[in-house]
Structures are given as C-alpha cells and as structure tokens.
Assembly symmetry: C2
Homo-oligomer: 177 residues x 2
C-alpha cells in the first residue's frame, strides 16, 4: 500500500546560508491534512576512494557535534546549480585529497533524513587514482588526509561515527569478494 | 591532528516543533573564528528486527522527500526527555510492529549529518520476538508493516533508499556469518 499526498501550502520559516526550513501542509489520499516541518538542503556527494592498497579519508573538526577530528569520506554539498553529482564528487576528490580517479562507480543514492529533510546523498567509488594539483579553495576548512589499509576495512568501519561514511564503507565491503 | 574549538556565541534563528536552527560562532585553536548554521535535533533510534526467518520493516509516506511509500526500519525520535535510547527503541517496536524482543544488541551510534546538524542516531538489533498489543498512539502516521525474507538481505539492501536503514541492514550483513 502507499499513501499518496498533495502539498497544499508551504511557508518559509527560515532562510539561511545553505539550509532553509519550510512549514508545509499536505492533504493525504484519505482526506486528512498533516503539517510537516522540513529542512531544505541542496544535497551532497561522498566518495569512497582507494588505490587497491589504501583507503583515502579526511579528518576534520565538526563544530555542530562538538568533535575536533571526525573521520569521514571526502564529501561536499551540491552547491553548483545544475551540476551532475559525479562532477561535484570529482571536484571534492581533487580539493580534499589531491587526486583524480580513472574509474568512477555509483554506489548508492539515498535520503539522509526523510522524516524531516529533503537532503539526498550520492555515494561514489573512485579508483585508479592519480595525483593532481589541489585547487585553491577559500573555505575555512581544516582538513587532514588519513590513509587506512584496505585490508583492515572492518577496523575502519568500527572507528567511524559519521552516517554517509558508514553507508559508503559498508557498501564497499558488501561488494568486495 | 585535531582542531579544537570553543563556541563563543550562539543565536537561535528558528525554533520549531521539534527542530531548531542556531547560528553559532566558534574560535578555532589557531585563533580564526568560523560561523556555523546548525540544525538542532533531539536524536533518533532505529531498529533492525528479525525472527531468524524474516525481517520486519515499515512502509510509510515521507512528505519531505515526496515519496508515498518509503521502506525503512522501525524508528522514532528521542522525544521523551532523559529516556535511554534503547527504551525509546522498545516503544517504537511495540507501536510500529506490535512486537517485543527478548534480545537487544547495540549496533552503532553515529552522527547523521555532522556538517550541519547535531542529530545522533542509535541503531539496535532486536531478536527473539513475541507479539504484544500495539499501544494507542495519537500521531498522524500511516504505517504499514513489511516482512522480508532474511535470506534475501542483499535484495532488501538494494531496495532501500533511507540512510539509517542502509546503515542498519549493512551492519547486520557484516555481522552475519
């Protein structure tokens, strides 16, 4: 069974630098009306990166959760209007790791918090790496590169407490022989 | 390396029914100050549920992402102040599936969107199931129960496009012999 619905009103309650909050009302197919508080987000990409021997990750401060050194996949918001997500992923791989990849595979696209946000995450696997010049970026990011042996993928998964990184690494593990 | 920081100011920009938005300023250990837009969220639990033969899931409309029938783990927000997350998980299992579990295992606790939200998700595995009376709830939820053969865990994972459900099922797969 499915429960279809139509949006009958939408009110912007907050408009920020990259997120917004809407209060929307929906009419369900049984006629009932429900209110939903929705965080609007541009979406994001994250990349599982390895060279057959090591995985390449980043460690960075995450002020929203009070963690000075969270270990994550290279990732970034879809902030270029209309850009294909894999192109955003290629930019992030160059900016954060200083690599380009000869092979790109789509791993999964999913809703990160479908109960209250429209954020969609696109996960890719990047392999056949080569070095590139890191482009200059003006963001106030403090990113360290972390290299982890692919042979210890389970140890890495145990060390992760970021959602998209868990999905990416667990999906890599599922696909490996 | 880590980059420690102190919160030096916090301004509530939006206060909603269950989320809020703050504009916080942090001083990093190198002295630079950065601004962060942060969605405050009470946190959530989600439960991988099986009886050794079948997995028990829910299908429900998710208005924020425009999907009438998203397949997910039973889950819920931590909306009782001070409640242990596993107690919230037990309530959700009774309310959404009509089951209690003889065995509870913690699978993972992680940050769902550490770049812009403090949402933490607690994942559990519930087994040794028995039927219980579904408590009355007054929420406007339209939840159908979905039963999926445990032997087709990979087929289920392929069908999922919800973040917490992916982490839970992929972690279950990693732990199974």
């Amino acid at each position: 069974m499915s429960s279809r619905f139509d949006r009958i009103s939408s009110e912007t309650a907050y408009e920020g630098r990259f997120i917004s909050v809407r209060n929307d009302r929906f009419r369900m197919e049984d006629g009932e009306e429900v209110d939903r508080e929705i965080v609007g987000h541009p979406g994001a990409v994250a990349v599982v990166v390895h060279d057959d021997e090591n995985l390449w990750l980043v460690r960075q401060p995450r002020e929203p959760v009070g963690v000075p050194d969270l270990l994550e996949l290279p990732a970034g918001k879809l902030d270029e209007e209309g850009e294909d997500p894999v192109e955003t992923a290629k930019r992030e791989l160059a900016e954060e790791i200083g690599k380009a990849a000869g092979r790109w595979e789509h791993l999964k696209t999913y809703w990160n918090s479908p109960g209250f946000s429209d954020e969609e995450i696109h996960l890719y696997l990047a392999t056949e790496l080569r070095d590139v010049q890191k482009p200059e970026v003006d963001e106030d990011e403090r990113i360290d590169i972390v290299i982890w042996p692919l042979a210890d993928l389970d140890g890495l998964i145990d060390a992760i407490s970021d959602g998209k990184t868990l999905v990416g690494l667990l999906e890599l593990r599922r696909r490996r022989p």
